[in-house]
Homo-oligomer: 394 residues x 2
């Protein structure tokens, strides 16, 4: 059962921006002013809602909600796109009784076209009415594009004085690469938090979850993570111990959502967990892990249920990571297949067959005897990925 | 008609390393000692023949030929692989009457297994007999793996005193990425060259051809370019003018082969030429060009004949290149589609449709007003790529 943080309402409606017969507009509204932390795409082309979010958060005022749409990314839309974005916030703010600058926008979909404003205007009354009875899952569904399922994760922190709840939702299945806040992710909590700590905690949780996944190595223009803390539970995250405990739950929620994004990768049939250890430092480990995670040859082999360690080794070799090839070892599904730079003898294909058929495969790479480590989650590369992305706009 | 440089003989034979009913062993033999230039993979895992080539070339002695096989890469095979490699050179050297250290080895195929030496021994007599009547195309075919056609390019330089011929051959269709000498490439010429200049010229030609292509961003453990100059024509490349003229032909031959590799990309249906200009410097231009060239989303759109400029723009935005988004312009097939950070109005899909159906598409990216430029050739990403690589070993 989803534990919904107190003081938040949710709604979705059909604007018909791109998709027919489904919701494509969502609203999250807090009854109380929230401390809000945000992490955004590092792509140089930033979508209008990303620019607008950054401006609002930089002003430092309280936040009351999030307005999200799917189907149009409102990216590369220039001044007109920015004005359209602000108008949607104006209209939505008036309709629910908050200031425009208290609402944060997010969009996902096709890059280029302007938002069809008339469709937005027509759908707004339905959206606002939906707040009375709306559920988080409706918003999670309304922001889906090529996603096959809505992604929600939640947790709670209990103490003698009360309980704080945290709920996250994410959309994303393609144009997904690490090294930034990835995709659209919204986290809400009824805890009361210190804003500076909250921003740090959210950034760190993003680094340990969304920035550790890859579907295709491509980075969206719209990636946005917003984390709203409304305080309606009366639970104040205050002491160092409370902060650690709350951070742990936040990270779990983010990692749960990040896993689901890879699980739902465009055309993906499995999650490949690449764990690199024994590196000189974490940075070297990450270089190696990402080279494996983004290698089309490794990803197609994973789709083909082929424990083709040669491709993993070749990817590590070109990763730029610093290591001695004669010290490298490799395990797939926990089974040693390559040690000290050489394949182990035996019918490895047969030994690995049961592991290769699982939906979640772990590849362990040991680069040497250092203490650097990094884990990246990757999807496989399949016919369906090609179909989805060759035909996306048509 | 292929112009074969004087003083070289060619042969191929069937060893059955992996493929049945086709040649998989090739030999190029020069009647005269050659100056030889080599460029090799930068992958940290270097195959035994790569290590052996580097050792031989470092010794600086003259070179008489190249021994190449397909089906087994002899990579990650340790000391045994290196010994096997040397034994093949010993046996082949004895059979044709040259020293083992005058022959350069090259292998391509599956990583891991040892070379089946008995198969090599059995095929060697046939290989040597083939030298009497063998043609270059037979060697080019014998080294194919997933290639659909053999790749040959040639040229000649004429002067009042004579004529020098140059002939190149390449194999490669997958595990292909820039930033190194890519694949197996052999160039032979009957010109006489100064060895130091030859190495510089070959390296530069590789940088301007094989290091400017990408199929899947993956870098092989076996990439090798060997360029043998035997001098049998009596034509000596001596003056600065002759060197420039000869370099130009060498580069043309290398670019011709590089184009064919992308044309023959695993599952590829077209060649995408990404030309980035207006960058602060060539390095920035290359960052942007490679991000576009390796983007799975751009590559699948190209397969889908979809002029999805949004994905091109998103790839540039995450490339790490330094530029002002409001100055970026884009042309596909020579048609302007995006100017100063914004899409142009009009039915661009209709306007671009004829260009999108061509086998060779040019994408021009103008980042700003700088003088930096770079061109990268890329393949598209297709169902067939996934099929080939999901099922390669089975």
């Amino acid at each position: 059962m989803i534990t919904v943080p107190k003081g938040f309402r949710f709604a979705a409606a059909r604007a018909g921006f791109k998709y027919k017969d489904r919701d494509d507009l969502g609203l999250i509204l807090s009854d109380t002013p929230c401390a809000c932390a945000g992490v955004f795409t590092r792509n140089r082309f930033k979508a209008a809602p990303v620019l607008q979010c950054r401006e609002i958060l930089a002003a430092g005022g309280p936040v009351r909600g999030v307005l999200v749409n799917a189907g149009q990314a409102n990216a590369c839309t220039g001044e007109e796109g920015l004005i359209n974005c602000r108008v949607t916030l104006d209209l939505a703010g008036k309709a629910v009784g908050v200031e425009a600058v208290e609402l944060l926008p997010a969009s996902t979909g096709v890059i280029g076209p302007q938002l069809p404003m008339e469709k937005f205007r027509q759908a707004l009354p339905d959206l606002v009415r939906g707040l009375d009875s709306g559920q988080p899952v409706q918003v999670a569904k309304a922001m889906m594009t090529t996603d096959k399922f809505p992604k929600l994760a939640w947790g709670r922190l209990r103490s003698e004085t009360g309980e704080a709840r945290i709920l996250g939702m994410a959309k994303g299945a393609g144009m997904i690469a690490p090294d930034m806040a990835t995709l659209l992710v919204f986290v809400v909590t009824d805890a009361e938090v210190e804003p500076g700590w909250w921003q740090t905690a959210v950034k760190r949780a993003a680094d340990n979850s969304f920035n550790r996944i890859t579907v295709d190595g491509d980075t969206s223009t719209n990636d946005t993570l917003l984390a709203l803390a409304g305080g309606a539970s009366g639970f104040c995250v205050d002491t160092a111990q409370e902060k650690d405990a709350f951070y742990e739950i936040l990270e779990e929620v983010c990692q749960g959502l990040a896993y689901m994004v890879v699980e739902d990768a465009e055309g993906g049939t499995r999650v490949v967990r690449i764990q690199v250890g024994g590196a000189a430092d974490d940075f070297e480990a990450e270089l190696a892990a990402r080279a494996v995670a983004d290698s089309p040859l490794v990803k197609t082999a994973m789709f083909g249920r082929d424990p083709n360690w040669g491709r993993i080794v070749a990817a590590i070799g070109r990763s730029g990571a610093d290591f001695d090839p004669d010290q490298v070892s490799l395990r797939i599904g926990g089974v040693s297949i390559f040690e000290n730079g050489r394949p182990l003898p035996g019918d490895m294909d047969a030994l690995l067959a049961p592991h290769m058929n699982r939906a979640d495969i772990t590849v362990d790479v040991i680069l040497g005897s250092g203490s650097g480590a990094s884990t990246v989650l990757a999807s496989d590369l399949t016919h369906e990925y090609v179909s989805i992305n060759a035909d996306y706009r048509t």
